[in-house]
Symmetry: C2
Subunit: 246 residues, 2 copies
DNA sequence: CCGCTCCCTAAGCGGCTGCTCAGCAACCGT
DNA sequence: ACGGTTGCTGAGCAGCCGCTTAGGGAGCGG
């Protein structure tokens, strides 16, 4: 029941992104990296700290290699404290996965509605999606790559959210084909490939690297427009912004 | 000592492709699926059975969630038998990872040398690489996604092989740019994206699906040529071979 | 027949796992 | 002052983990 409290009040963490909660902008040397908001409004403070600790631990070592003792000690608590806020270790993963996937769907939906032409919609969606996966790569890695550690019922729920993401992307591609802007022989296969390409960013992206999340989003938006067979854009957005204008 | 024997004689075995079975969507209870060659010449028969069992188990549940008892019983042996052929559970993963990565490098090298023009070389490399990841997706999933369970020294060795793969691909892209066939503003970033796209096939591909490995290879080869800014190919290889003729 | 090697098993060891439970300090409205 | 609720801890349980060890049986050169 206390576990419910921690679980229930997660989902409305969207509006204000705490501009005050970021202390360690330059990534700490310990390896974890950014403070990672997104969990700004998890119920009691302790529940949020546990969630954050779990995200870091799962991202570093994977779900199965992470012990509940490790999560608790990262949160500065005793091993037993975890079970006041979450019923099982798996529920922790489930919360992370659910919130992350809902966020993904929202990013794609909003970006896909933010423009008129299919090319602009596709570029905006990829740009935002990639940027999120790069910026929040610690969270995203857990969200995208620890799925199959979920319990059967939770897994089914998450898979449904993933299908939503795929449908949103495929919808944009189909609109573009219908409008004659794209040339895609297999919209389903291409949508899958695009999603796969963007998601995989979470696996290899590192904060200290040469590319910023924004730059990577630009690069990928250009690559994906090409994959869709879109003619070169007006603002030089054909493949990373450094292409020729024509 | 016996562990060495099992390790040494692995690396050949390529010809015959079988692949007739299929897999459940999640972890099928019957086991994994295809026979998966590649391990055709592992030293004693028992060592090969253990390797194969480990591949299936790691692919289904992940390295950390797999027990040595599970591997041994899949191979029809007692838990202790594993340690006659391999020193630790991690060495099993290391052998799988090493052989798989060597295979990857070889596939890219050979395909990248099989043609003359950069476009044909790129297409051939992607086609072969994707096909392998789809056909042997059980093996490939372990090879590509269980890396960080490796011991430090083994991890370093594998990472070097991965860098080789990236360099081969980047080399093709750079040749294409130099020849004026490709338009790529950021060869390193694009090579990384292409590799990422191909590798991720192993994560979601299922044998029972609508696309065969060959079809997927064709689709991806077309997508990647577009990403590279190559003009539409002569044999309808613009994006999947199913495009309109003219 | 011997003795030796090669594979393999039954049993089990120490340690760590996820998770539980009794209890306690701090706060609450009354 | 006080019973009740909330949030947490120290201790620990049952069970599973990777891995080891002692020994057995099949094969084989002599």
């Amino acid at each position: 029941m206390a576990a419910e409290t921690g679980a229930e009040s997660v989902e409305s963490a969207d509006a204000e992104e705490g501009a005050d909660a970021e202390e360690g902008v330059r990534d700490a040397e310990d390896g974890a990296g950014e403070p990672d908001d997104s969990w700004g409004e998890v119920a009691p403070d302790a529940a949020r700290r546990l969630l954050l600790a779990a995200v870091e631990a799962f991202a570093e070592r994977g779900f199965h290699a992470t012990t509940t003792r490790d999560i608790a000690s990262r949160a500065g608590m005793s091993p037993a404290a975890l079970y006041i806020h979450y019923r099982t270790k798996e529920e922790l993963l489930y919360q992370i996965s659910r919130v992350g996937h809902e966020r993904s769907v929202r990013i794609l939906t909003e970006a896909g509605n933010s423009a008129v032409t299919p090319a602009d919609r596709l570029a905006a969606a990829v740009r935002a999606f990639v940027r999120w996966h790069a910026e929040r790569h610690t969270t995203a890695r857990v969200v995208q790559y620890e799925l199959n550690a979920l319990a059967e019922e939770h897994y089914a729920e998450i898979v449904a959210l993933r299908r939503r993401s795929e449908e949103i992307l495929r919808g944009i591609l189909e609109d573009g084909v219908a409008a004659g802007d794209f040339t895609v022989p297999d919209t389903r296969g291409t949508a899958l490939a695009v999603l796969s390409l963007c998601v995989d960013v979470a696996r290899w992206f590192r904060s200290g690297g040469t590319r910023t999340p924004e730059e990577l989003g630009e690069l990928y938006a250009g690559l994906v427009l090409r994959m869709a067979g879109a003619p070169a854009g007006p603002a030089g957005e054909s493949a990373g912004g450094a292409d020729r204008g024509a």
